[in-house]
Symmetry: C2
Subunit: 312 residues, 2 copies
């Protein structure tokens, strides 16, 4: 049995945990804010690791789930847009120098896919697709029983697929990506734009309604809010059809805050999927389910990465 120390870095929080192999319930877990007036995020992460570091046993590896682009071979974070200063950060080298154990890095949404596969809703599915729809859109795929990461670790950017050429601006700077029209950010923008054009809504009085506000208003029957979520779901379902043509998974797992709107988002997703799929055979026996691991999915995915890595 091995012991791993893992972290999941977000724009708001750093979570860290100690796991033992084959057990997704952490021995120890702690979360802190990512930003601080004195320390950098990397200093805060190192401090958190020291705090939870097990003294009674040897640590086999550190794994860090990162919200951005990384080179898995070099252990370098190329860019994590929501974490201040994380551009071309040699995270493996920094952590190996501090802790003297092997260090792995993975994209957070990719690792979430791996976590759902080994410990969550995707158990037993060796061809699996995972999408997380929240502020942004990310995802991951299991292909032939292995995580899709590509030759450098940059694969699985499911949110940055063009669905409307020259469409709305995406957070990445390009236009018309899925994330630009179907993320929580896009849903909130859809509502704000229409209110500014004079469309009536229960959200009219709220300054900058969030995606969660829109969900709540939709539950309460607000027509504009329902329209915004239906639009996002339709784009997701249409793009999901394309992903099924590429990956032919036996399960699709949907996670992230936007999916917690339930049938309001799931029904338009399923409707568009039916409409745009090449043929019934892509949907026969395919499960469309919601994620099961909750807020610790990134940590559990990091555990799963350690378990499926040969440290030679």
């Amino acid at each position: 049995m091995e012991t791993y120390v893992v972290a999941d870095i977000g724009g708001t929080q750093i979570r860290a945990a100690v796991f033992q192999s084959e057990n997704p319930i952490p021995l120890r877990i702690k979360k802190i804010r990512t930003r601080d007036k004195v320390q950098t995020p990397i200093e805060r992460m190192i401090g958190l690791f020291k705090e939870i570091w097990p003294t009674e046993t040897r640590v086999a590896a550190i794994v860090v789930a990162v919200p951005g682009y990384l080179d898995k071979n070099q252990g370098v974070i190329i860019e994590a847009p929501n974490v201040p200063g994380w551009i071309n950060l040699p995270i493996r080298q920094l952590l190996e120098e501090q802790f003297h154990v092997p260090v792995l890095v993975g994209n957070d949404a990719n690792l979430a896919a791996l976590g759902e596969w080994r410990y969550g809703a995707g158990k037993g599915h060796d061809n699996l697709l995972y999408l997380t729809i929240s502020t942004g859109i990310g995802g991951g795929a299991i292909v032939n029983g292995k995580l899709l990461v590509g030759y450098r670790g940059l694969a699985g950017e499911f949110g940055h697929i063009t669905i409307i050429p020259n469409g709305p601006l995406c957070g990445c700077g390009h236009r018309g990506h899925l994330e630009a029209v179907a993320s929580g950010t896009a849903i909130a923008r859809y509502v704000a734009e229409r209110i500014s054009l004079g469309v009536k809504s229960s959200l009219s009085g709220i300054t900058n309604p969030s995606a969660a506000d829109v969900s709540q208003a939709a539950v309460n029957g607000d027509a504009l809010a329902i329209q915004a979520i239906t639009s996002a779901g339709t784009y997701i379902g249409h793009t999901l059809a394309d992903f099924l043509h590429l990956f032919n998974p036996s399960i699709v797992i949907l996670g992230g805050g936007v999916i917690s709107a339930g049938a309001l988002i799931l029904e338009p997703i399923k409707k568009a999927l039916q409409e745009y799929i090449l043929g019934r055979s892509y949907l026969d026996q395919v499960q469309i389910v919601t994620a099961s691991l909750g807020d610790n999915v990134g940590l559990i995915g990091a555990l799963a990465l350690a378990e499926t890595t040969d440290f030679g």
Copy 2:
């Protein structure tokens, strides 16, 4: 050393060959027309197998490359639109009853990717993307050193990805797929439509110019022909950027008749790829090359499938 009998089925021709393992040069090879007034395509294929069947040695398996959708687990061709009568065809059962050896089936473009990986331009690249642009658009991916086929064998439909919602009609019946705007068929249609609108071109006198006619006219400097090919290349490059975000391969192999237009198509592909890629790291060290196996790529891919299959 094993001996395999393989076939590559096309709308026009059936090719069949006998291979020995690890050797992409066939012991025997023969091609015949797919259609005939007396025999069905399946009868013609069985006849061709009997003709080339090796008498001196045991055959380890039959592999058939099919231009369509198939269920690899059941060995059933769900639909091969260009082969008369190939709908829900239990090809494995039919061939096993005739020849009493294991039978594998694969999508022709998927198998071409596998062939280029083991014996062609993609050797040594365990994350590889292959696109073939001809009458239609197909492709295949190697992920972590294995062919992407999905749970039933339906994966890798790279031509049936939406790039213009509600765009031009695709051969599959849906709208705005890559194949509908960037295949040889789409290039020929682009030219024909503009000529019918009065645009001047050296192709004006030709009834139904083919994609090959358009290529030739482009080489000769015809502005409309160049425009048609540039448009297709731009769509391919844009979509290829999305595929790189999903698969992060170390090599992209481009094959098919349209690619033989050379720089006329490759330059717009590369230009659009540069423009739409998320970041330099997706292109650093990535090779963009043309296919190397020629007309036998499907047969060689079928050999490669046999070699990478455990017949237990």
